[in-house]
């Protein structure tokens, strides 16, 4: 593998007493689509701003293409950013906005115009080049912001929640276009978002951050199916998280006693537990089975239905066991035909031991 394009080495960022980013180590590869994802205040935007030079690391080193960037001014780096607010220049038209970066690089007017129009055309905005930006729709403004950032042909593009202001159907379309664009250009995209669907849909690799720390790094499916710890399991997807004490262990099969009952889990090879150790595990809500008859066997929880959330083909049911533990189950709408939900009778959740994923803490 070639050298990474971006290296964060023990990067710390403090604002006064507040630690926004804590000892971050991260390599970003050439041509990679990386998503930085986490709840608000987790340090993802600060990380991006440090990469753009808008914040300076308090400790550690950031390298871009081998060069230490800590003291390089924002205007001396080629790390264009697509802003959440888009930050288009309101008194310039679409083409002039796109030309701005080229103008700053001292390109003559004719070649600036040609390049800007070329990019606007590529993003389907050829007819809107001379429009003031306040007369463009949300999606068009989004494209102008993209063209403005890409027109200087950078090695890396930074995106800070760029789709958060768009309507849901536009978000899906833009996701597709961004992925396609990134493939075609072959440059590195660093995409900050709090939205799981955006990160998972587009990124080659997802970095989950919480409280200034990287909680997990991996491909979307890896993170979804095997969350490393409780934070990731709670943040990503709909997981049922249970915690309890190990009561017995035979080879990799352990029995855990939790307030909601005793459950069997498979212990990963790298881990070892002894009796009485605390252990938490997650079962994805789409891996549980729901029935109104007791299926007998391991890993069965009798529950009562609290509420349901219907979004189309999939229904999420919120349930509660006798001790008050909350459970979530995602069921295909057609499966529900066989289950009696109305009478308020007891429902049984069950899952195979292999579906339970042991968390690190």
């Amino acid at each position: 593998m070639s050298d990474p394009l971006v290296v964060f080495e023990n990067v710390v960022k403090r604002f006064g007493e507040f630690v926004a980013v804590e000892k971050m180590n991260l390599d970003i590869q050439q041509g990679e689509f990386l998503a930085l994802m986490g709840p608000s205040g987790c340090g993802k935007t600060t990380t991006l701003r440090m990469l753009a030079g808008l914040e300076q690391p308090s400790e550690g080193e950031i390298r871009l293409a081998g060069q230490v960037m800590n003291d390089v001014k924002p205007h001396e780096r080629d790390t264009p950013l697509v802003w959440q607010s888009l930050a288009l220049f309101p008194f310039l038209n679409a083409r002039e906005n796109v030309e701005f970066g080229l103008k700053m690089r001292g390109l003559d007017a004719a070649s600036r115009k040609a390049k800007a129009l070329n990019w606007l055309d590529r993003l389907g905005l050829a007819d809107f080049a001379e429009r003031p930006v306040d007369q463009l729709s949300g999606g068009q403004r989004q494209r102008v912001a993209l063209a403005r950032a890409l027109v200087t042909e950078p090695q890396i593009l930074l995106l800070d929640e760029p789709l958060s202001a768009l309507d849901a159907h536009l978000v899906i379309r833009m996701q597709g276009e961004l992925t396609k664009l990134q493939r075609e250009l072959g440059i590195t995209f660093v995409y900050v978002t709090h939205s799981q669907s955006e990160a998972f849909a587009m990124a080659d690799r997802v970095v989950i951050m919480g409280d200034g720390v990287i909680a997990q790094t991996g491909a979307a499916r890896e993170i979804y199916r095997a969350p490393a710890n409780r934070f990731v399991a709670e943040f990503v997807g709909r997981n049922n998280i249970l915690a309890g004490k190990v009561t017995s262990q035979v080879k990799t099969a352990a029995t855990i006693e939790t307030p909601a009952g005793k459950f069997k889990v498979n212990i990963p090879k790298a881990r070892s537990f002894s009796r009485g150790d605390r252990l938490s595990f997650a079962i994805s809500a789409d891996l549980v089975h729901l029935s109104d008859k007791n299926p007998r066997g391991d890993n069965v929880v009798p529950c009562t239905l609290i509420s349901e959330e219907f979004v189309g083909s999939v229904i999420t049911l919120f349930l509660e066991s006798a001790d008050g533990t909350e459970f979530k189950a995602q069921i295909q709408e057609r499966e529900l035909a066989d289950i009696d939900l109305k009478s308020g009778s007891t429902l049984y959740l069950s899952w195979p031991a292999a579906s339970a994923h042991v968390l690190e803490d």
Partner: protein, 267 residues
Amino acid sequence: MMDSERAIKWFLRGYVVCLFVFVFLPIIASMVFSFNSQRFPTVPLGTFTWHWYETIWQDPDVWDAIKTSIIVSSCTSVLATFIGFCTAYTDYRYSFRFKGAFLALALLPPTIPLIIMALAMLAWFARIGASGEIWSVIIAHTVLTAPFAMAVIRLRLNQIDPNLESAAWNLGASEWTAMREIILPFAKPAIVSALCLTAAVSFDEFAVAWFVSGLNKTVPVIILEIVTGNIDPQVNAIGTFVFITSMTLVIIAQILIMTREKKDAPA
């Protein structure tokens, strides 16, 4: 129900009309008498005349005063707008301890009673040997009007996307270039309206100018001299001229503020 609503509506309309009459009647009266051939402002009016305008036109003292006023108000407006812009930009760009106190201090001068301000200025200029100079009036007026410029420009900078300047840096603009290419064009309507507003305030200002100006009399000072001791309809003519000048400046300022608000509204 409908009747009481209607009554309130008519009452409020009447109130507004009364208010405008109260404010503008003396000014309109002064304008009317400036074209009146009679020496004393009485009704019935005499005949229409340009006589009073002709006399002030031929009066070298009035010309000197107008010249002084133009120099003072244009220099003041440029200086005050520059200082006002710097203060407003400081507020937009930086956050620091005691910023509230900084802003309060910056906005303080217009709240000081003019006569006290004028006396203090006079005493200070006299001590440093600068009283009675044209530039001492300019300095005094700049102190007085810079807060107006700051308020107008600050209002505009508050509407800016806080990322706009960073976006310019991100695209390769140095701090000075971003100032020239992004902040100044964005604030331009506010800067022009601040220029007009401060020029108008300086042009009209009497108390400070009277204390500080010495022999470099401005128009309001000469008006007082003319009216002191005799009734002279020339004052109406000068007053009309001053009123039209400052109203023009204020209206330009207002139009600039309103058009930019309209333009920004849908965005």
